[in-house]
Every structure is written in C-alpha cells, then in structure tokens.
C-alpha cells in the first residue's frame, strides 16, 4: 500500500470546529476507500468536498451521520466528533445522531406522501410537536426556511412526488430542517437539477449558512466556489488539500489540486 500522503492544510483552520474528523479510515469489505482523513469543519459556514468520482468524498460525508452503518460491509475507524462528542461511540444512538445531522441526497427523494406529511414525518417520530398546531408551525417554518412555502402553501395535501425536481429537492431540505439539525450534509444536491433550480438551491444554502453547519459534496467547481467558505479536495481516498475556498481556488499548493481545479483531470 502506498504511503499515506501528507494533507496540505492552509492557514486559518477553524479553532473551534463543529465537526472534527481525526484519522478516519473507511473500508468496504477488504478494500480501503478512505485513508486517514483529519479535518475540522467550522460551524455556521459552508464546507465543500470536491474531487474526482470515487475519491471518497461522499463516503467521508456519510461517516458524519453514520449512514455507512446501513451498508453491511462498510467499516469506519478513527474519530468523528460533533461538538467534541464522539459519534462512533457505542452509547451514541444513530437515530439521535441523524436527528442532529440532517442529510440531503443526490436525487430528490421525497416520501410518496403529501407535502405536509413529508415535513411532519421527522418531528412526528421524534415527538418534537405536542399538538397539531405546533406541528403545523414546524411545517410552515421549515417550508419557509427552504423557500418553498409560497409555492406549495395551498397544496400541502398533494403528494410531494408531484413537485418539480428543484421543488422536490427544496422539500427534502425542508424535511431535513424540520427536525432542527445542527449539521446538514448535502450529497451532490444539485446534480439532478437544471441551472435555474440549482441557482435557487444555492441561494438557499447561502441563507441556511446563518444557522447551520453545512457540508456539501459537489462535482461542480463553480458551485463550490460560489457557495462555500471552505473547500476540501479529495483524491483516491486521501484528503489532499483543505482550506479557505478562495485560497484553494487561487493558490492551490498541491499539483493534483491545481490540475483538478483547472480541469486537467477529473
């Protein structure tokens, strides 16, 4: 096996990271997919994970809310801490963890239920609302935060699957917001959307930054540059370079980062 490459860390690393990864290895069966990723991700900002396909950026993302648990052959070692709490600890319930760490997937995946039930599902199973009116409030606030309220307020009982792709993705974000998470993970949230819908989502991400720690995996360099404050470049399972978005894009230290950003591979 090749020697672990040294990650290049730019200056101004967050002093008090919301999410801290330390030596995270991920194995799929006998194959190692992620090699010793160590990084601190700041709160109330957007951090972009970029890199060519299969570089392990989604896998790293999924270690943060233990979605890798659902894959039988996946094994995670190393430490992932949120607010200094180890998420891989035995006494951490993944259900509670996932209530704190929301997730938005590549393909919009609303439940085949009404728009209202899509949003209300999380609060219901976690018992966040004690009355119907409280639940209505949560649904309304979440939809408003996701910028979808004006478009769907008059058809909350219609199926969520009847919305357009961009609306569905915002519905899914609203669903994630509804359980008041601290961290929102987004796995290529715009890859299935047209440019206009993408622009709306990006706008939304920018707004959400005020209140949440957002980590976004993206294939679009432009998107990373537009929405994120921090960028991490992954290559073949290694975290190659991590720092402020501007620095990474204007002054990449590693040759591979530079090649990728300038479009020479990937």
């Amino acid at each position: 096996m090749t020697e672990k490459i040294q990650t290049v860390y730019h200056a101004n690393q967050p002093a008090n990271p919301k999410v801290a990864l330390d030596g995270v290895d991920v194995f799929y069966g006998p194959k190692q997919a992620v090699f010793g990723v160590t990084m601190g991700i700041p709160d109330r900002s957007v951090t972009a994970f970029i890199g060519p396909s299969g570089c392990g950026k989604s896998t790293v993302l999924r270690t943060i809310n233990r979605m890798n648990d659902t894959i039988d052959i996946a094994r995670v070692t190393g430490s992932v801490k949120i607010d200094g709490e180890e998420v891989n600890a035995k006494d951490v319930d993944p259900v509670i963890l996932r209530a704190r760490v929301g997730m938005v997937f590549q393909k919009p995946n609303p439940f085949p239920k009404s728009i209202y039930d899509n949003i209300a599902y999380g609060p219901r199973i976690h018992g966040l609302a004690s009355s119907k009116s409280e639940l209505d409030d949560i649904v309304e606030t979440s939809l408003k935060k996701a910028g979808l309220w004006n478009e769907v307020s008059d058809r909350l009982d219609q199926p969520g699957t009847g919305l357009s792709g961009g609306q569905q993705q915002r519905l899914v974000i609203a669903r994630a917001i509804a359980v008041s998470p601290e961290v929102i993970l987004m796995d290529e949230p715009c890859s299935a959307l047209d440019p206009i819908a993408t622009a709306k989502i990006e706008e939304l991400i920018d707004e959400l930054r005020e209140n949440y720690c957002i980590i976004i995996v993206t294939h679009s360099m432009a998107q990373a540059a537009r929405v994120s404050q921090h960028t991490a470049f992954f290559h073949l399972g290694d975290l190659v370079e991590y720092g402020g978005t501007e620095e990474i894009f204007t002054n990449p230290h590693d040759q591979r980062t530079q090649d990728y950003i300038t479009g020479r591979f990937g």
Binding site: N65, L97, A99, F105, N109, P110, G122, I125, A178, V179
Partner: protein, 578 residues
C-alpha cells in the same frame, strides 16, 4: 460517390433482411398467441358445454299425502316419532298414483328408480320443520333421477316420431296389446330390423374370417385353437342372425338390442315386441294404458334410436318420464342443489357446498399461517438479517423448498401433524397447515422481491431524518412493497386453492356427505376441498357426474378468477408512484 451509393445499397440489402426478420418474429408471436387463445377457448368451451346439464335440474313435483299414521306413527308429533315415519313409502305411493296400471314388482322397481330414496330424508326434514304439514297433501319437489334428467336433456337418446294415418285398431287397453292395421304399416320396421340383423351377421362373419386367417398364420397350439373356437362361435351367432333376418319380413321379434319402437295410440303407449303378418300386426305390452280400444286413424310410431341394452334408462322409464313431463309435474330450473348440497352418491343431489366450505376453511388457515409468517420472514431476511453464510443457506433452502413437489408436503403433514401431534385426519386445520407450508416459500420469495424493488433512496430518506430501522421498514418500505406482497401472497394462495396431491395424503379425499360448519369448530370436522371434489367426481360411476365434474371445475375457476381479480384490485388500490 460510388462509395456512398454502394454503402447505401449494402445497408438497404441488410435493411430488407432485418425487416423480414422483424416481421417473422412478429408473426410467430401473433401465431403463438392465437394458438394459446384457441386452446384456451377450446378448453373452456368443452368444460362449459359439458357442465351445462349440471347447472339445470329437472324437478319432479309430486302431490304427496302426509297421512298421520305413516308420518307420525306414535301420534305424538315428537322428532323421534317423525323419524320413524315411512317417507319413502309415501313417495312411492305418490308416484304409483300417477301410474296406477304399473303393478308388477319389476316394473315398480323401474318406476321407483325415477327418484332417489335419499329424497325421503329431505321430506322428513321438511315435515320436521313444519309439523303442521302432517295430514295434508302437499306438492313435494325433488330432483328427478340423474338418468331421467339426462334423458330430458336429450343426452341419452334421440327419438323420432312418424305420424301414421292408416286406420289401426288395438286389441285392448292394457297388458298385452296387438295393433292391427289394414295396410302393412309396420313393414318398414321389419325391413329396418332385417337390415340391422343382416349387418350384424356380416360383421360377425367378418370377424370370424379374421380369426380364422390369424389362426392359419399361427403354429398349431392352444392360442390357435382358441381363435378357431371363437370364430366358430361367431359364425354360429351370425347364422342365427341370418336366420331371423331371412324370416324378418314375415315375422320379426324386436329384441332389446334393436332400436325400440313405441306405438302411441289413443293416449297410451305400446312397446312393439313382435311384428307379424307381413307388417300388419304389431304386438307388445302397453307401457301406458290406452284410453280406449277404438280404431284410430291418427297415431304415431316412435323410434328410440339407442337400443335398450345400450342405455341405462328403459323404454318404460322413457314413457313414464314423458308422461310426467306432459302432466306438468316436471319443471326444469337452475340447479340450486349444486350449491346448497354437499357430496352425495346420487348425482342429482350432489353439490359442491361441502367442498366449497372445506376450501374456504382450509384457505383461511393457510392464509392465517402463510401470509404473516411469510411476510415477516421476508422483511427480516431482506431488511434486518446480516448477510452471512447462515442467511445465504437459509435463502438457498427457501428457494429449494419452492420447488419441492407438493405431495412431499402432504407426507410431512401426515407424519408430523397427524401422526406426531395427533391432529385429526381429513380436517381443514391440517389441510391448511400443510398448504401453508407449501405456500410459504412462494410468499417469502415474492415478498422479498417486492421489498427489494423499493428504491434505496426511500430507505436513505427515512434513515436520514432519523427514523429507526423498524420505522423505516414499517412506515416507508412496507407500504410501497405492499402491492407486490399482496399479489405474491394471493397467487400463492390461489395455487394452494387448486392443490390436490398433499391433501390426498392427509385424508381429505373422503366422501363427505355433510358440509362442515363455517364456525371455528368446522376446522377439525372431516372435510374435502374443491379440487379433490373434482377428482372424486371425475371418477364417479354415474354418467351425470361427468357434467357435475365440469360444473365443479367452473366453480373452482370462478373462485380462482375472483382471487386473481382481488389481487389486481388490491394492487391498484395500494399502488403508489414515486
């Protein structure tokens, strides 16, 4: 330029070939579908045609007098006393009243064969339910015997009537009657008989010569000797036939292996036994007494085409049945007995109710066991079980179980449920358990396929908002998989509904004359199921069971179609798009 055109030509040549291949494939497809439809229609058509006669029944409605001393011998109206009454005697008398001229023992036996004595029990039940009927005369409806029913439907023999306008004078009104005509009105019957006799003699002679030829080609021995002696017997028979044929034009005796001839004259019927004086005199027994012995100018010769020896319904019975029908005592109506009665030795009283209830009870047990166990097994294996050697082994075994011949499950049921656990034989409970074992693999496999077809994005979405695994499965995955699970389960149950072999092993093949009750207690009563009933009837000795078999098949098919329609309905009802 030339290059371009040659490429184009090459493509066009190939294109024609490709289109031909496509057209060929399509025509094969259409031909296959047409063939399948034709075979299906043929099958359904033949079953439907055969079953028609079972769906109608000719009912005999006789005025019966319920004299107190015969119905209620002790005179206290108690159930015991009623049960001691001679109801069959009452029915016999009611029939005798219609034909007072029938007095001989043998003839009475034939007359009473027009209904089955099992109807006496039905009369008893009616009286027991309504004790007020005692002492009254009521019309009692009962299905006419299966042979009479088949005859009335024209399935035993055709008959032809030839109107005569020659003056004929009968010698009497009952007993032995001879009918004398001035002209040889019966000559054609003699010629026909002569023809018939000659033909049969020729057939016998041909057979005899065939035997002799074969014997010649063989070495001398016992086999050859036997052939020669058979040939000699045939020749002797042929000689007798030839002799009677030779004298047939002078005097003919119409034996019962010739077509029967009935003379209908003066409101009575005479069965012709001999014709003499060159066709001027026909003599025979009056099956139905004549009103008068006056000469008549308008009378009929009726020919029953199938000889009496080749049917199980005598000439006398034909005449009586027609007389009852003419008197308006026989009505054809929808055969409710088929649905309200359990099995019976007598086809006219046999019904599918017992088997239907047995099937319902058995399916109830099967559904109660196979569907929940199967669905939950599938959910566990698909959503929760770790993927390791053990679960792989279980999966392989389940797939193999689906291919195990069903009779093996029957043996298992016999050995385990009946012999080891001591559960009752022939019971729907055990039948349902055995069929549940057989259905389980189907339910598990189809449920797993349905669960697998639910997109993983739904699971991720649910897990992503913090649903537990169980919540994910029961809130999101299961509802989406439900249509597929239901379809698979119902198809599995429909398969079980049509299963015969395993039930034979556990004794559900018995003759059950009383339908089990639909209450839970019925689960341990002896019962049979529809496919087994079909199997039993297909073996039935009486010809009318043929139609009953086809009718039962139609009932079973209707049940299957209902089941499958339910599957389609549920699928539509619960299907959600995402």
């Amino acid at each position: 330029m030339t290059d371009a055109t040659s490429i184009r030509e090459a493509v066009e040549r190939r294109l024609a070939k490709r289109y031909r291949a496509e057209a060929r494939f399509r025509s094969f497809g259409i031909a296959a579908i047409c063939f399948a439809i034709a075979v299906l229609l043929l099958l359904l058509g033949s079953i439907g045609y055969q079953s028609i006669s079972a769906f109608t029944v000719n009912e005999l409605s006789l005025p019966v007098t319920l004299e107190r001393e015969r119905v209620d011998p002790r005179g206290d109206g108690s159930p015991e006393s009623l049960r001691a009454g001679s109801y069959n005697g009452i029915l016999q008398d009611a029939l005798r009243e219609q034909f007072p001229s029938v007095t001989e023992r043998a003839q009475l036996r034939e007359l009473f064969a027009l209904y089955t004595p099992l109807n006496a029990a039905r009369l008893l039940n009616e009286v027991a339910e309504n004790p007020g009927l005692v002492g009254q005369t009521i019309y009692f409806d009962m299905p006419i015997s299966d042979h009479a029913d088949l005859y009335l439907q024209g399935r035993i023999t055709d008959s032809v009537r030839a109107e005569q306008s020659v003056a004929a004078s009968p010698s009497g009104v009952s007993g032995e009657v001879s009918i004398r005509t001035d002209e040889p009105a019966f000559a054609s019957l003699m010629a026909a008989a002569q023809n018939d006799l000659t033909e049969r003699a020729e057939a016998l002679e041909r057979r005899a010569s065939r035997y002799r030829n074969r014997a010649e080609g063989m070495d001398a021995g016992s086999a050859a000797e036997r052939l020669i002696s058979d040939a000699a017997t045939a020749e002797a028979q042929a000689e007798v036939l030839r002799a009677s044929a030779a004298s047939a034009l002078e005097e003919t005796s119409l034996s019962s292996d010739l077509q029967s001839r009935l003379v209908e004259i003066n409101g009575g019927v005479v069965k012709v036994e001999t014709i003499s004086q060159g066709g001027r005199v026909a003599t025979g027994r009056a099956l139905l007494p004549l009103v008068s012995a006056d000469a008549a100018n308008s009378w009929t010769i009726r020919t029953i085409e199938v000889p009496e020896t080749e049917r199980r319904f005598s000439d006398a019975q034909i005449v009586w049945t027609d007389a009852l029908a003419d008197a308006g005592l026989v009505t054809e109506r929808f055969n409710t007995y088929l649905f309200t009665n359990a099995d019976s030795r007598e086809p006219e009283l046999a019904g599918v109710q017992g088997a239907l209830i047995g099937s319902i009870l058995t399916m109830f047990v099967t559904m109660l066991l196979a569907v929940p166990i199967g669905v939950f097994t599938a959910i566990y294996l698909e959503e929760f079980a770790p993927k390791n050697k053990l679960t792989d082994l279980i999966e392989v075994n389940i797939n193999n179980l689906a291919a195990v011949p069903s009779i093996v499950f029957g043996l298992l049921g016999l050995a385990v449920f009946i012999n080891f656990f001591g559960l009752p034989r022939s019971a729907p409970l055990v039948g349902g358990m055995v069929l549940a074992l057989m259905t389980l693999p189907t339910v598990i496999i189809s449920s797993r396929a349905a669960l697998k077809a639910v997109p993983p994005s739904i699971r991720e979405a649910a897990l992503g908002v913090g649903a537990s695994r169980t919540q994910t499965v029961f809130h999101h995955v299961l509802p989406l998989a439900l249509p597929g699970i239901l379809t698979g389960s119902i198809i599995g149950l429909a398969q079980a509904l049509g299963e015969t072999a395993p039930l034979l092993m556990i004794g559900m093949v018995a003759f059950i004359a009383d339908a089990p009750s639909l209450a839970p207690g019925g689960l341990t009563e002896p019962a049979t199921v529809m496919p087994v009933q079909i199997y039993l009837w297909s073996d039935g000795a009486e010809r009318a069971f043929e139609a009953r078999t086809a009718a039962a098949i139609i009932v079973l098919l209707a049940l299957m179609i209902a089941f499958n329609a339910l599957a389609v309905f549920l699928r539509r009802r619960f299907e959600k798009r995402w």
